[in-house]
Symmetry: C2
Subunit: 145 residues, 2 copies
DNA sequence: TGCGCCGGTCGATGTCATCAAGCATTTTTC
DNA sequence: GAAAAATGCTTGATGACATCGACCGGCGCA
């Protein structure tokens, strides 16, 4: 699926996506045009969805994170989903199997803010929140086969 | 904390971190050197932690995702944490308050693989897994104040 | 009022991305 | 099994870009 050079390119770009093509090329042992061509194909194949920036929420004042499980009351599933999407402090949310229909990550500046946000959901769903104390595994790639 | 130009720079880079300085500059209405200077300071301030690539796990064969809650048995907390860190299919894991000590995201190619991985934890912790059916909120930034 | 600082522009210079041409190796086809 | 075609690479030329120094205007402050 990915050969060794592709893997090293992806791993290199995960560390610094704004590296020059020239440097990327020499790190994986290719010429710039070849690296450019491979990069283009990784994007075309959908392996690389895009290039982005890693922003630290804490540096923006969001010193707290919570993982919130949400179980909409009967008939409220769509309302709740819309509500979640409209609350920008949810930086991600998954719809999952099981009783807890949604699991989301909330970035907040205080416990107060958590309370305010959950109040908006409280009459449409049961919620269960856990404050993030540490991140033993920071965002990383699964193994590149 | 962030002025309007900073915000637009960050938002632009979230969309495409490999854009040229020149284009970034003209999108926010600055000259290239000014944009370069601001970018450098956003990194120095820790607002921007780095530039990275958005890899699609599905394109690598990881067509399934699970959210796993993990409650280590008494005395097993550190062993479990080490184990989680060593399992590369965990793309992220948070240590949280409450009974479920850890919440992680697992990328797997089949239900079989889920079973295999959870077996490695089973004698040290209780786990509760939910398969991700959809992602109503894809990874996004909290509001930039 | 005058001084110094901050954040900006402009223009020159060296680095980089990109394109076309060509080459070696592998795959396909008859 | 040999000719043809397709891959994937390199090199060198050209135009675009990042970066640096010099300079400028507005603002806070003694």
């Amino acid at each position: 699926m990915l050969d060794d050079i592709d893997r090293r390119m992806v791993e290199t770009l995960v560390e610094d996506a704004r590296i020059s093509l020239k440097e990327l090329a020499q790190r994986v042992g290719l010429s710039s045009p070849s690296a450019s061509e491979r990069l283009k194909r990784l994007e075309e194949r959908g392996v690389i969805r895009g290039f982005t920036v890693d922003v630290d929420p804490a540096a923006l004042g969001y010193t707290l994170q919570a993982i919130v499980r949400i179980r909409p009351l009967p008939g409220k599933l769509h309302v709740v989903q819309d509500l979640i999407q409209q609350i920008p402090q949810f930086s991600e949310c998954d719809k999952v199997t099981g009783d807890d229909c949604f699991v989301g990550r909330l970035h907040i500046r205080s416990i107060d803010e958590l309370d305010t946000i959950l109040d908006r959901i409280a009459d449409k769903a049961e919620t269960s929140s856990s404050i993030v104390k540490a991140q033993p595994v920071k965002r990383r790639l699964p193994p590149l086969l």
